[in-house]
């Protein structure tokens, strides 16, 4: 009977230890996960460039639809443009849709043109699934643009300023703060551009 009692106590002790360890790991994982989500929007833009030191102005992508119709970033988008790399077939892209809709609506309000780019031509979004209204899709993209970037994660969002400088990027699903973070980056870029213009005017006087 002593053996049985020891066995019972041993099992309970092991179970208790495992519960404590699991609980600790769960709390650690949640803390790390939350932290990475918070910092995810402050990603190093180097990750999306193919070559280091190419952080200059890059012309917007030119491309074609699956039907062979040319799609270019219009001259109307003086504010800038955004690229959404993803596909409806990707689970993460579907999960990300509500936040992407929020961000794309904000981009439209700010005068940004949105271009969708799928990984393969046959994985493109149906036209009626593109948000905001006026967004276009390029399934065949100019090599001139592709060679600058490494698009390796579905979904990825790249936001470019009016001069073609990358001002915000995010790989993976957007966090709850993602859309606001992008808008803050756009506003900060606008303030910098305005400041630079004012400085230019001062020098010109």
């Amino acid at each position: 009977m002593k053996i049985l009692r020891w066995a019972n106590q041993g099992v309970m002790l092991l179970l208790g230890l495992m519960i404590v360890l699991d609980g600790g790991m769960l709390l650690y994982w949640k803390a790390v996960g939350d932290d990475s989500t918070r910092t995810a929007d402050v990603q190093n833009v180097d990750h999306v460039y193919r070559l280091a030191g190419t952080h200059g102005s890059i012309a917007p992508p030119e491309g074609y639809t699956a039907a062979g119709v040319k799609v270019s970033i219009g001259s109307k988008s003086r504010s800038g443009w955004a690229v959404r790399y993803g596909t409806e077939k990707c689970e993460y892209c579907r999960q990300d849709k509500p936040r992407w809709v929020e961000l794309s609506t904000a981009l439209q309000r700010l005068g940004y043109q949105v271009v969708y780019i799928p990984p393969y031509a046959n994985l493109g979004y149906p036209d009626d699934a593109l948000t905001p209204s006026g967004a276009r899709q390029q399934v065949y993209v100019g090599m001139e643009w592709i060679r600058h970037f490494r698009l390796v994660v579905n979904p990825t969002v790249l936001i470019f300023g009016p001069e073609g400088q990358l001002i915000w990027s995010h790989r993976g699903t957007l966090s709850s703060d993602g859309p606001q973070s992008a808008v803050r980056a756009i506003e900060a870029a606008r303030r910098r551009a305005k400041g630079a213009n004012m400085a230019g005017l001062e020098i010109g006087k």
Binding site: I3, N8, M12, L15, G16, G68, Y120, Y140, V152, N154
Partner: protein, 231 residues
């Protein structure tokens, strides 16, 4: 609850039943203990007694809670494998990338589909660089001239940018093979990565993965690519 007796069986066999009882009780207790039961040993009989241990119940509840979180974690992590499979244009240039036979838009604006006609066994995809376009085109014209029409090999070039596309468009002489200026992202990324290693990509339907062959290297001739393509 009475489970049964081992007395008669043991007596018939003429053995000492104590080790059997102790072993059986230990195993049963280990199996049933977590469920709040304990096997009681009464001489000649084995009884299952319900003993609700508070710590056992707490353990079961906590295990369920942790199991729920564990399952949630597995469900969260699982799609990342699907995602990486969807667009495997790895940041590691040496990785084998998912070049798929699809299509593109040629320098003249024509849609080019890579779906090969039945007589085509192998498609060779390569990058033309604007900076070395003349030499690149000469190399691939050399490859083409060494392939007979019934060799079942098709060549498809990609321009690395606008400079190359403009030069090809404006050239008086045709390259002799389609040159794509607008491609699908994963295909284009795959080819860019291969080209940084001086390689072209060979595609054949029966191959599970594309084959990468070095062509931008000293000593490599069009014949070496032809040999690989015809293998």
């Amino acid at each position: 609850m009475e489970l049964g007796t081992g007395e008669q069986l043991s007596a018939a066999r003429g053995r000492d039943t104590r080790p059997f009882r102790t072993g059986l009780t230990l195993v049963l207790n280990l199996c049933l203990g977590a469920a709040g039961f304990r096997v009681g040993v009464v001489p000649g009989k084995v009884r299952l007694v319900r003993i609700v241990h508070a710590e056992t119940l707490i353990g079961v509840v906590l295990t369920c809670v942790l199991g729920y979180y564990g399952w949630s974690l597995v469900k969260t992590i699982w799609p990342s494998d699907q995602r990486s499979g969807m667009a495997r244009s790895s940041s590691d240039p040496s990785a084998t990338l998912g070049f798929r036979v699809e299509g593109g838009v040629a320098v003249n604006g024509d849609l080019v589909f890579h779906v090969p006609p039945p007589r085509i066994k192998t498609t060779v995809v390569f990058m033309l660089r604007g900076a070395s376009l003349r030499a690149d085109v000469a190399f691939w014209r050399g490859v083409r001239s060494r392939l007979s029409n019934d060799a079942g090999v098709r060549l498809v070039g990609y321009c690395d940018g606008d400079a190359c596309a403009n030069l090809v468009r404006g050239a008086a002489q045709s390259t002799g093979f389609p040159v794509i200026a607008f491609g699908e992202i994963v295909n284009s990324e795959s080819l860019i990565n291969a080209d940084t290693q001086g390689k072209c990509i060979l595609l054949r339907e029966e191959w599970r993965e594309p084959k990468h062959v070095v062509w931008r290297a000293a000593g490599n001739t069009p014949q070496s690519v032809v040999t690989e393509a015809l293998q």
